[in-house]
Subunit: 241 residues, 6 copies
């Protein structure tokens, strides 16, 4: 079976990273993964959530949204509907959790870093691309904090990156584009760090199931892809000190 766009099963789409895409944000990137394009910005404030006041601990949170015409058919704005969909909340909670695990929140000190991930064009993998790009925006913000002596030590523990894998007609594949994702039996998002450890695995059989053996194949594919992506991240980010 050949993939629609000619890729091999273990091949990730081309990833392009445009750094400092936004003149206002403390860190920012426009990340493209094939036709999926996400603007990630990092905002630093000293307003940590209530439960962290006077604890010396900071926080990282994320918000996620899609422009209405990011998708093939236009989707109504959540602002117009007056509430976030379950899907949006689920995704932004995932991004936030994943990026928090990249940071020693005590070393960060009482700062809040908000990562906004705005999908301006979607073709599958918007949440994994948001995590991968969000990490870069976060790293840029940390570099700025170190440079401006807001903090003294680098609070980053390890890179965080993410990729989707799935089973299509029983065949494990990496980095599903939208048309593949819609026809996948099993859809799995994997978030890992630079030490080949897992931060999050979310694997869903869509009116289908998967065996332990299939799980292992999917995890192998994801692990290799994430190693590559972390290299790309590091090339863009450079030294942090």
């Amino acid at each position: 079976m050949v993939r629609e766009d000619g890729r091999k099963n273990e091949q990730v789409r081309e990833i392009k990273i445009h750094e400092n895409f936004n003149i206002h944000a403390e860190g920012s990137v426009l990340i493209e993964c094939g036709n999926t394009k996400v603007i990630c910005t990092a905002t630093i404030t000293d307003k940590v959530p209530m439960f962290l006041k006077n604890t010396g601990k900071g926080w990282v949170t994320a918000e996620y949204s899609m422009l209405p015409r990011a998708t093939e058919d236009r989707s109504p704005r959540e602002a117009a509907k007056g509430k976030l969909s379950g899907r949006t909340m689920e995704i932004q909670r995932l991004i936030g959790r994943s990026l928090r695990s990249a940071v020693d929140l005590y070393k960060l000190g009482e700062y809040l870093i908000t990562i906004d991930c705005d999908v301006i064009q979607a073709d599958g993998g918007t949440r994994t691309t948001s995590i991968t790009g969000g990490y870069i925006a976060l790293a840029f913000a940390i570099k700025k904090m170190l440079k401006e002596k807001m903090i003294n030590k680098n609070p980053l523990i390890s890179n965080v990156a993410s990729i989707s894998v799935g089973l299509i007609k029983g065949v494990p594949m990496v980095d599903l584009k939208y048309s593949e994702d819609s026809s996948a039996d099993v859809d799995m998002n994997v978030v890992m760090n630079g030490n080949e450890e897992y931060i999050e695995i979310q694997g869903t059989g869509e009116e289908a199931t998967y065996t332990r053996d299939e799980l292992n194949k999917l995890l192998d594919l994801a692990g290799n892809a994430i190693k590559e992506i972390i290299n790309l991240q590091n090339n863009v980010i450079g030294d942090i000190r």
Copy 2:
């Protein structure tokens, strides 16, 4: 390390199932897993979602809620706040997806089965207990549909059950109660069917990570627990025809 309530690491809390707990619902159960208590009811209607009208295909959906004082501290009602939290939406989407995978939706025909999972007392594992109990309510509703000749063939494909596993100070344990869950480094919910296949794996490092080896130990624990639970389900449900 001995667990707070004296259980072994691979030991599930006692599960009690009170069938036909509700006089109105087409299927119902009060399920207890230790101090966690959930009322699950199944409601059958012929109002399938718009996208299924005239397709011959049915649907299973789920809603989840906690009474305000199900928890140690009272939590405000979502109805009073005017919106569902991200956590609630995430959980009810998980329950719905999991139970849908138990059913051949074409055999079900154009019916909607709504599973309501209302937690009246919480002590960890409310979402996994909801899935396990929700399956029983669903099976009772299917038996009623068969008996009343609303459908001719049993649309159930396989049992669906769920359990939580986690790493506490590096030790893998099954069925975390609330106090364990709060201190776990890694928290994983596993949903499986009667053929030892996965329907959903959601494994999260909470400001922590886990290795491939730890993942495997957690999946072993979950697999054994779910086998036991499926036996309990079948004892209550009996024959379906």
Copy 3:
């Protein structure tokens, strides 16, 4: 005319009271009145409403909700609709007002007691059963406050209990079950204390009216029923000191 379930016109359905139904709440009860079942929990906090700050006066408030399948047909959750219905607000205001009249709010001191009444199965009389059960949960919470020396004097003034009465085809009856309630011409909820005094009377002609004479007969029925119910309450609550 014989009533559907064989009761006499002046006969209340069997009331069962399961005390300490919830391990977390400061006071709790599962109260059954025929097929109507309500979980009542009392939560004590020191967060009085703004207008009582630094007045030395406490407050009692109530919230009321029904599980979606408490009723014969499933009703959508108010949390999903994003707002409380007029009916719910009316009922929880009534419960709160009624229970407040049981308490000397100055003796209570600056505490807030929240009574949650969650109907898990409904068959008429859910608001009156909530008041009767809510009083017991409140009394348990007061006993706990006295025992733990949060307060020194018993702030309870008198029991509070409630029952419905109505006219069905001109005949006065007590404690209407759902099928009776739907066909009643006049529906009246009466809340009284242990001194045969009224706290609240709400009597509504549903596209119908009632005379002064009929009003008097309904009040006689309610008065006798409430005397009985207060005895039941006292048996469960025991001495308060």
Copy 4:
């Protein structure tokens, strides 16, 4: 005890009725009861609620609101807060129920009459004044329907009018103005028809209670006042045919 404005205990404030206050509405009135002023308009449409479609039965409903500066202190608009308060819902349900009892809904046929009661200045008794004035607006709309031959028979069964009564320091009084209402121990709203029958009684002890004997005195006061008010209504409305 002399009342603040010199009235006797059984004396209603002066009621002024300005008919046809609005050029657009099918029936309208500005009613003043002392300093309380309410604009009541009746709107006729053929859009009955869903549950009445094709039943041949009509409906009467009511909405109630206060201008923000109707009260001594300005209250925020419910439209700005994004929801109706419990108090507003309770009142508009009461007005709707009361006015529905004035009409034979089958004779009305499949029409919806909406009575809007907008309080432009408040000094106690806004809900009872709304009912009294709402009936007049309703009657004007009915006259118009008869004149324009939208209906053939007068569907009005009887007048509906309302007054408040209360106990102030143990003394029964009628038609409480705001300053009296705030200091009343017991507050009761009575809705009656032209045959001295009750449509609704709502009597509330505000952190207080009342005896059977006090109830009877309050009902006597209300009955006499309502008789007077119904005469006023009839003078304004004139013959209906």
Copy 5:
């Protein structure tokens, strides 16, 4: 072309001003412009918006609403729909901005004046009538503040008044009533002060356009009308000191 109500193109409808219409408000007026009737009240509080705390500067804000049956067809209440329409927000922002320009906010000191404009009957020009009447209510409130020595100096800079103009089939006309407004090609609202200066011009071609020359004719008409209206305002307001 003769106008529907016989007016000349440059003729404003009769304006009636009923001062002190409300017993509670610090300033109030019922203003009528033909069949358009608006109640304007001014409320003074010492709660300035957050961004003005401790700046010595005050604020003027406005809210606007229409009674549901102010219009020919009944419009649903915004409170019931749970949000303000774009039209309402646009109008109340315009009124607030316009009236703020009448006041030296530093001379006002840290007070908030809220102007509520409630349209009880509408026939075109509700926003311009609200501005004209809102200024009078504001001036009355200022007089009261001066009299009660809340402030020492008159903070009013100049009158503010407003009128609509428009092009109907190419003919410029002033003060459009509703039927004219609906058929106008160009609709312009002009807000000016007592020195013939502009505070706001909003001119909209409704699926149409207008030339520089037409603009000039419309501005001439508006200027003359506003001069007249300011005279009317001053007659009612009298001396301010």
Copy 6:
């Protein structure tokens, strides 16, 4: 006085237009005006608003939003707050009205074209840039409709473009950037077509006023700038047939 970025008072910032920025939309553009960047997409559907069903007439509407970090300080998402701000509604109504005037809606036929304007970076003039860019996206969509024979005749009447002008310390200037806009006394947005006619003028004195003479100077500046901008639009759009 020299402007902050060295521009002359009558000089517009550099405008860059990236056409076909989005692979999904029927027409799209990324437009930059200095540091202000807006993505405009056009979506064609056959779902006209209810009031146009079966009239043969189409509709053009617009939505406007800013990414949270488009601005110097991050602004909370309207989707998270659950409602659109008054500012957003005002702007999207302006864009929609302006673009509708570019189209003969009967020639368009029963199609709805939705123009989404998403500001990804803001530095003043976001609404005028949205109108200018929105027109280009609209024109591309029309070209596509003609090419695909969805319509036969070009429904475009004329270009539509917009610019801001303002008075800063009494000096008229064109195309205010954010820092200029915040300190302007008078802020005016002008929308014109290709025949030097006005579609909309919105001129606001911000706690200030302007004379007829100043108005004329501002309109001269705007007219010249819009002529230039329309040339740019036409270079990008090319022939329409």
